[in-house]
Assembly symmetry: D2
């Protein structure tokens, strides 16, 4: 829900609206877009109609523009100020130094996670990633360690002092995963698993939402809107490559997605060069290009021993690759990005 | 799991194996492929290792070939005989007359479903379709009537004597949906929602599995394997159009999928011309082409009043369109199809 | 150029316009679309402005609508009556029995062409195809026999009494190829080789124009307009598969192209199932689907001995395959097609 | 043709081979790849067999490996040393500062070209581009000024002291275009116009070869081989976006093409961000990403007044955009690029 306020709205009037929305169990965001001031209510549906009716009676509310955009909460039209998502000490979003998220595709063992965590923490990484629930093409492939994997990931993160990111694949797992992870990831195959989006929208953890293999950017925006509309304002979008006709890479990394999305949305934008590349030699140049095109951070697969990885080994960086990549990145300390 | 039997396996030996598998809570399929006799166990995982160990000790079992193919249960390599899925009086699969499944995109009201059901039943339809849980790109679009929709669908089917098909979008809904529907449908967006595939694999209803927008046929086979491996032998595959660069149609109907899949799998093959076409004028020629290319049946959107439809109206056939289409189809009574 | 005539235009007035256009070296087509009578002038550019000025002074001409459609000459808007292209005894186009064009990918030898020609002629074929100039991905692949190949093709066609079709790959070859061939083919890779389109537009042979690997149907229509605008009214469009992400087939045959193009244009529509399939087993079902979807004919690769073919052997039908395919096709004698 | 030399080949033996090849009218390249020394002969076919027979008799020649790779002349396997193409004072290729090529899509007038040339020359540009022969989707669109355009381009280049690049669209134009232009460009639509590739291969001007809309990188390598094999060693490859399903950009810029091609070939690599972007706001970030991913240079559309451009106005940078872009590029003076 989006409401346009009258231009001379008083602080008291604004406070009244905020209170009404928060009492309805929703979260609030106020910003100025298109010459007007907008107040957005993020959250789920039950009491919404009643709230709308009340808001409509207030003199400070000029209109309720729920359908003014196909994705009003995600759109920059109403919220021109770029969102920064805070995870522990880290801020992710436009204008912050690039956020580096790294770790193995899958959590495999305590030793593996510890080694990975040290590599990431000691070489510029801000968040640690690792998958415990793995969506795999084949039912006979390694499906992840489940909750045991979550524990190992959280433990490794604690040891090195990094927040952790991990994928959630089903609505009924959201609570469990959120109890271990600092950030939830929704993978490409689940970008239009709307139940999962809604469940993640009710969680109190930021959500990294990856673009689907054949999803248009318009569809990605709509998917983000599901999470926002369900009440979670901390959505981070992630380009990770789309399907094309050329088998030269595992997926075609669509870096133009970053400036296109930057215009459309206030949400932070990451790039995952690893899944698109499919093999490690291509990851560093794509990572540098991602920052140059304006991404707010990277999601990179790093494994202490890629040759023994249970999934996606060929695209994982070795610890030495990771160090070299980080060393080659410009503007990691503060700064205004590559351009 | 697939076991290869010795060539002179006795009936008693075979019966012993079947009993062992069924006692483990799994379903059995026996067939002859590649000059050998194979016995497959479909079902979930818990007791499997113990069962494998027991089977390995039997002299009638030559080898356990779980990984002999990337999708042993779906593959025609081991089960060359085409599967026919029975739904009430209807048999779906190679060698049967084409199965016509029709109805509206979404269940909207009792009157709408009744009218649709009559049109379908009185004009050659074998199953009635209608969506109660709708996966929609936007959170603000009509999301279906939920359980109330399931009731209206089941009621309309009963009145005209047709089994009903409807989509299920989340694992936790499978039981509910299966209590109303004769056939579960898993939509394109959920083709790699592996939890949902597994939940549907534990259901006792046949499953229509639609190809994802950007899924290769290899991935579709793997997705089917998830359902089969979880215990449900009654999987029906459905081509419904893939993403391409040309906006001339909503999706590019890949009719070559039918003969390609026919070689790869024993499972029945449907085509949904409606979602690929995106507008009604293209549906009849594509439907005829689908049968000519060898599909075992069609899934077609028919609405009593497309102009008032809450979703996908432009591609729904009117009742008159449906009658004309059915009248134009060859070989509906028995026969061996176009080839 | 397209001129709209006044509704009560007399025969004398119409004859005067036709004479003016023909004197300018252009070809004429008159038809009624959108409630008006239109006269189109097909041909090249030199004297056109003068002609336009003259036509504008005639009271029978209401307007000159060169830009009324992006492709006025190809569009059905002005010329609703379907074009039938005559090649010898054969008529190609909507409402005629499907035209079967078959033969080897490349002309390789007199014996090969003779054998292929006999197979095609004795089993329902209407035109004989064979390539003498082959566009090949690699400079080191067999590039065709050139003029010697044209001679062998023409000779084989004469012996069995079939007109011949062959590809032309460069503007400077059009005259030479047209001196041997009854129909010119422009291949997928050259669909936007505009100089070649223009050269073919000045030829007096019908042109089969194949859709490019990544061409939208809109672009195919524009490409046809190049040929028509250059003076050649006998253009036949051919769907042959587009690029997609799935390697299961060589190209994705987009059969919806047939009904989509049928609405857009009056030109005849062929389908080439061989290049899309990439292997012979898929060709017959795709060929049957192509006729069922409404194509006016087929372009099929047939080789007397595919195993020894110098190009595209895996997708060529054997003589026995071809006989079986033709026997399986419905409605070859007259009739109104599959729907 | 590629010949492997014995390891202790003397200078005299090498000189003899070079002389033999050059006498046959071919160009020579010697390099060491895979532990062997290779000598390549670039050029057209007539006397080749005789030459091969002679070379085979020489003791210094260990083998003639024409088919050792699908594209031996373009491949880095035999020629590991990166090629640098010299155009006037400029060197294009790995290890040189990025080459900036800019100018309008089409040459429109003397005033326009002069203004564009000044903008480019005074703000970091190394070569001036402008199209005189324009391949356009529609026959009714502006097709370029032809030879008059070539004259204006050459004149503008002379005035500001920049070499000029322009597109050639037909084999019969190569000589004419090469008489005005310093570098020939072959556009995306003509990447597999093999006659044109061969004609450009016989020219004495470097050739920029753009990747086709639906061309795999493997096909691009083969296309380059056509030019190299015809005798022209100075081929520069250019990524310019491929077709995908997402209309958010005009084409999907595949920046991974740069590191993939870098492994495959010794040829210089450019990126054209303008055609992929389709609108000017996306060009600067994509240009920066192209250099970050390792491209040897950029091809950018710049127009003194984009609003009045006869083609591709929306994607042309204004002079001010161009200045700002150049100012934002790192490492333009010497340096070893971003990685």
């Amino acid at each position: 829900m989006i409401a346009r306020l009258k231009t001379d709205c008083s602080i008291r009037e604004r406070a009244e609206i905020v209170t009404l929305i928060e009492k309805a169990g929703l979260r609030v965001r106020i910003d100025r877009g298109g010459g007007s001031e907008w107040i957005g209510a993020f959250g789920s549906d039950a009491p919404r109609n009643e709230l709308l009716d009340t808001l409509r009676t207030l003199p400070a509310v000029l209109e309720i523009a729920r359908d003014a955009s196909p994705y009003p909460l995600a759109s920059r039209d109403y919220f021109p100020q770029s969102t920064r998502v805070r995870v522990g000490e880290v801020e992710i979003g436009e204008g912050t130094p690039p956020t580096l998220i790294a770790g193995p595709c899958a959590v495999e063992s305590r030793a593996q996670m510890r080694a990975a965590a040290r590599t990431v923490a000691e070489n510029g990484g801000h968040l640690l990633r690792g998958g415990a629930f793995k969506p795999r093409t084949s039912p006979y492939s390694f499906q992840g360690l489940g909750e045991a994997g979550l524990e190992l990931l959280a433990e490794a993160g604690r040891e090195v002092g990094l927040p952790v990111v991990t994928e959630v694949v089903a609505p009924e797992d959201v609570e469990l995963v959120a109890s271990y992870a600092d950030v939830l990831q929704i993978g490409a195959r689940n970008m239009q698993n709307f139940r999962l989006l809604q469940a993640a929208g009710r969680a109190t953890r930021p959500v990294i939402l990856k673009r689907g293999h054949a999803a248009t950017l318009d569809e990605l925006m709509h998917a983000a809107e599901y999470v926002l509309d369900a009440g979670n304002p901390d959505v981070i979008l992630c380009e990770r490559g789309i399907r094309s006709f050329d088998p030269a890479t595992r997926a075609t990394l669509d870096l133009a997605a970053v400036p296109v999305l930057r215009e459309l949305t206030h949400l932070p934008l990451l790039v995952d060069p690893s899944h698109a590349a499919g093999r490690r030699a291509l990851v560093p140049p794509l990572a540098r290009a991602a920052l140059a095109v304006g991404a707010d951070g990277l999601l990179v697969e790093v494994h202490p021993d890629p040759a023994s990885a249970l999934s996606d080994g060929p695209q994982a960086l070795t610890p030495d690759d990771w160090k070299a990549l980080v060393a080659s990145l410009p503007a990691l300390v503060g700064g205004s990005g590559a351009g």
